[in-house]
């Protein structure tokens, strides 16, 4: 069972590596869009610092959204999805593998880049660890929730636009607690509670998203 999971993870990471440009799309968008903010709202450090956490989180949502389409669509089109459904292991486990591979090649990049972006937005020094910590807890949740949306719309035309409509409202709680965790620390109020809630949301998504995604994928193949 673990072997099947590892085989899938290995394949997806290798594919992500071969499609380098496509894989980095989210991360490049993240950095590029953020670089526009100092140009758009002016380079005044206190304005940037006040909106920084919110802007970084909103862009992280969009960056993950951008890469969601590749999660199941190509497997659906070339028939690999049929093989996964017919594999002698629970589909839920394979869905978990797909999400893990997706997060390693999208969310994790955002986490790693975030201290640099905090610097770009003139955030105070605490942000260099709070922001990555909050993103580390929040981005896997974004991938898992997005996986349900991507699976529901697999095979439909205009899937990616609809996925955004379907998934963005579900991202709101992550956004709220993610931003308030960072702001809490920056204002000296402490954001430990918010980080805990982000962690709880991740656990909840880990339990709920694989079975929901698997059910949606089975329906898509009928």
């Amino acid at each position: 069972m673990i072997r099947s999971l590892l085989a899938l993870l290995h394949r997806d990471l290798r594919l992500a590596f071969r499609h380098g440009a496509e894989t980095l799309l989210g991360a490049i968008f993240f950095a590029l869009a953020l670089a526009l903010f100092p140009l758009g709202v002016g380079a005044s450090a206190d304005i940037l610092a006040r909106i920084g956490a919110g802007v970084i989180w909103v862009l992280a949502l969009f960056a993950v959204l951008l890469t969601l389409e590749r999660l199941y669509q190509s497997d659906y089109e070339d028939g690999s999805l049929e093989l996964m459904v017919l594999a002698p292991v629970p589909l839920e486990l394979l869905v978990f593998g797909k999400c893990l591979a997706h997060w390693l090649t999208s969310g994790l990049l955002l986490v790693v880049m975030s201290p640099l972006l905090a610097l770009l937005m003139s955030l105070p020094a605490e942000a260099y660890w709070v922001l990555p910590a909050a993103l580390l807890l929040g981005t896997p949740t974004l991938t898992l929730i997005g996986s349900i949306g991507a699976a529901l719309l697999v095979g439909s035309r205009r899937g990616s636009a609809l996925t955004a409509l379907l998934v963005l409202p579900l991202y709101i709680p992550v956004l709220i607690f993610g931003v308030s965790a960072v702001d809490g620390y920056l204002l000296g109020l402490g954001g430990g509670a918010q980080l805990t809630i982000l962690g709880a949301m991740l656990l909840f998504a880990l339990a709920l998203a694989p079975p929901a995604t698997a059910a949606a994928l089975r329906v898509a193949l009928e």
């Binding site: 072997r3 089109e77 070339d78 028939g79 690999s80 093989l83 996964m84 017919l86 089975r218 009928e222």
Partner: protein
């Protein structure tokens, strides 16, 4: 008691009855050919037997015991080769097969899988450079990856040249000689000696 039996199977898709009251009983080593015009339900039956579709009525029995087609135990005893070849364009032939072997739970890829359809020379080539027939051979090579008693093949010879069609027929004959079952939807380009025939007729209403 037959090894694999279907009783009173019916399939409904998009509100339309594709077939009903479908019955067959297969003994070890049997072949079953599904024949009929396009849209008569051959692929639907194969997908139903693989557990990708749910029957609207009827039951399936393996060695006498009734089971649901989406039962994990059933998945572990079948190979399904559908219309899609399931090759990843940016992975080589070997990488694709190694992934499938891993997915089926094997640590190593058996070289026999590459040899049966002459894929050895193509092994290090990315799938995007393969022709339709070569991709088909890659899809069929998965039959060699793991021994499974039940093979469900949907027009397996599409795009194959004469030599590889013979390889396929040889592979099916070996499988049946070893007691395996093979259910094939075909328009007559694969021959299975002494196979039962299920005719879907022209009843595609």
């Amino acid at each position: 008691m037959s090894l694999f039996e279907a009783r009173g199977l019916a399939c409904r898709r998009a509100g339309r009855l594709v077939f009903d009251q479908l019955e067959f009983a297969l003994e070890p080593g049997d072949g079953l050919i599904l024949r009929g015009p396009n849209g008569s339900g051959k692929s639907s039956l194969l997908r139903l037997l693989a557990g990708l579709l749910r029957p609207s009525a009827g039951e399936l029995r393996w060695a006498g015991g009734a089971f649901r087609a989406d039962d994990p135990e059933h998945r572990a005893r079948l190979h399904f080769v559908g219309h899609l070849d399931a090759g990843k364009a940016n992975l080589t032939v070997r990488e694709n097969l190694a992934f499938l072997a891993g997915l089926l739970g094997f640590a190593e890829l058996r070289e026999a899988a590459l040899e049966r359809f002459d894929l050895v020379a193509l092994a290090e080539l990315p799938v995007r450079y393969l022709s339709a027939g070569q991709k088909r051979r890659l899809a069929l090579a998965r039959l060699e990856l793991a021994p499974r008693p039940l093979w469900l093949l949907d027009e397996p010879a599409v795009g194959l040249d004469a030599t590889n069609r013979l390889h396929l027929e040889g592979l099916i004959a070996d499988h049946r000689a070893a007691g395996g079952l093979c259910i094939v939807a075909t328009h007559g380009d694969v021959s299975l000696p002494d196979a039962l025939v299920l005719d879907f007729g022209g009843a595609a209403a």
